[in-house]
């Protein structure tokens, strides 16, 4: 079976700062992978390389077997049009939701479907309502984002990504900007997604979520994956002092409700 995402030798530099120094990572179909690591370790950069919001400096990325870009003289070349098409196959959810404030919730979820995928209004609306139902916000369809709570905004953002029928979903600290009492509803939505078999890569500081939901946990340090494996191993019997120190600073294993 081919992996949903296959990353080989991924490097990324910003001018002379090398942030990723050779990442190899496989994400099997239906798997939920959680990326852990301290601030500045390159988690966001890794995530953003997967959907080419950042262009890798070196290395290769495959999405369900398709090599992204074309090899030319030992380097990968990327065309913006191909990358746009690729991004329709990968959903991304941000820390600060990034909803379109001038559109209603329904319009937010329809936008990519009609403008990018070229679906008819009727079909897009149908799919949008299905996804809003899935995140429990069908009754907010006609509201503007400004009238929603943070947790509701984030669930709309998830619905917006899901409506594109992505092969993989990327989550970058999607609960970090939320009031503590709103974290649970978003994590529950993500848990549901994982149970539905969605392939997911999540950056999060919610160790409880990693423990209970992830199939695989990767600990990033200094641009490399320092440890990876099943959450029971990485979180309970880490091999390195670095991971032990990191975990000591986090409250363990409680999945907020």
């Amino acid at each position: 079976m081919t992996n949903a995402v296959e990353i080989r030798g991924l490097r990324k530099s910003f001018s002379d700062l090398e942030v990723l120094k050779g990442i190899d990572l496989d994400v099997a179909e239906g798997e939920a992978v959680v990326l852990l690591g301290s601030s500045g370790s390159g988690k966001s950069t890794l995530l953003r390389c997967i959907n080419f919001m950042e262009e890798p400096t070196a290395g290769q990325i495959r999405l369900n077997g398709d090599l992204i870009g074309t090899e030319q003289g030992g380097r990968m070349r990327y065309h913006e049009a191909d990358l746009c098409k690729l991004r329709t196959r990968i959903g991304m959810v941000f820390q600060h939701f990034n909803l379109f404030p001038h559109m209603t919730v329904l319009e937010n979820v329809m936008e990519g479907q009609t403008i990018v995928l070229g679906r008819s209004k009727a079909e897009a609306k149908d799919k949008a309502m299905t996804q809003l139902l899935r995140v429990g916000l069908e009754m907010k369809a006609e509201e503007y984002p400004a009238r929603l709570s943070g947790g509701q905004k984030q669930r709309v953002a998830i619905a917006r990504a899901l409506a594109m029928d992505p092969e993989v979903m990327l989550f970058d600290e999607v609960t970090s900007a939320l009031d503590p009492e709103l974290v649970g509803e978003v994590l529950k939505t993500m848990l549901q997604l994982a149970e539905d078999g969605m392939t997911m890569v999540c950056v999060t500081h919610e160790i409880g979520f990693a423990y209970h939901v992830a199939n695989k946990v990767c600990f990033l340090h200094d641009g490399l994956i320092l440890e990876q494996g099943a959450p029971q191993f990485v979180l309970q019997t880490p091999e390195t002092q670095r991971v032990r120190d990191f975990l000591a600073g986090h409250s363990l294993f409680k999945l907020p409700n």
Partner: protein
């Protein structure tokens, strides 16, 4: 102190003033449409990441923003024919001066408006597969235009008043017609008072309309 006001000597020329007002409106409509439309275009060029596009646009903006419109109109009327050999009518000179200046002004408003939209909005568009053009058209511009509305509408009002500058090349707009009346009847005080009143009467409701527009469009994301 006991000046003898004689407005009757102005009002007998009401048709001359009416023609002037019509010409003022003509200038206003042409200059504001071309100026704002051209400004959007120039603003995009100015915003471009490609230097050989953005630098000339910047040069254009700075030249026209930092020279007086009155001087530009005079220059287009007297100097442009000498430089290019093309005959320039008073109307043409006025339209050129006011429009090119308005393009420069609104280009800066457009650029500022586009830049005021958070980077995250671009990212959100990109993440669902939008191209640069799609993000600009569907995500950035609709939000930016809302923020640009107040400076643009006040520029529109400004253009209406700027049209009087066309009198310097004797284009028969309202002020020029009043000058004409004043030179026949030796009543400049009355003639210019009437011009001021005419502008006030036309602009007051127009300004109210822009307030309404701003309230209407400023609503959805508050």
């Amino acid at each position: 102190m006991d000046y003898n006001w004689d407005f009757a000597s102005v009002f007998v020329y009401w048709n001359v003033l009416a023609m002037g007002l019509w010409a003022t409106f003509k200038l206003f409509i042409i200059c504001s449409t071309l100026g704002l439309g051209g400004g959007l275009f120039m603003g995009m060029l100015r915003y471009s990441k490609t230097r050989w596009i953005s630098y000339p646009a910047m040069l254009y903006v700075e030249v026209f923003r930092n020279t007086p419109v009155l001087v530009q109109i005079i220059w287009f009327f007297f100097a442009l024919p000498v430089v290019t050999g093309i005959e320039v009518s008073p109307m043409m000179a006025a339209v050129l001066g006011i429009t090119l200046n308005t393009i420069a002004f609104s280009a800066e408003v457009f650029r500022g408006g586009i830049q005021s939209i958070e980077r995250e909005q671009w990212e959100a568009g990109k993440a669902i597969g939008m191209s640069y053009a799609q993000s600009m058209r569907r995500v950035i511009l609709p939000q930016a235009l809302k923020r640009m509305l107040p400076p643009l509408t006040s520029r529109g009002i400004e253009v209406f008043k700027m049209s009087t500058l066309a009198s310097v090349v004797a284009y028969p707009e309202t002020l020029q017609q009043a000058k004409l009346i004043a030179s026949y009847e030796y009543n400049p005080i009355e003639a210019y008072t009437v011009v001021a009143l005419m502008f006030f009467i036309v602009l007051l409701p127009l300004v109210q309309l822009t307030y309404m527009l701003e309230r209407r469009f400023g609503k959805s994301d508050a």
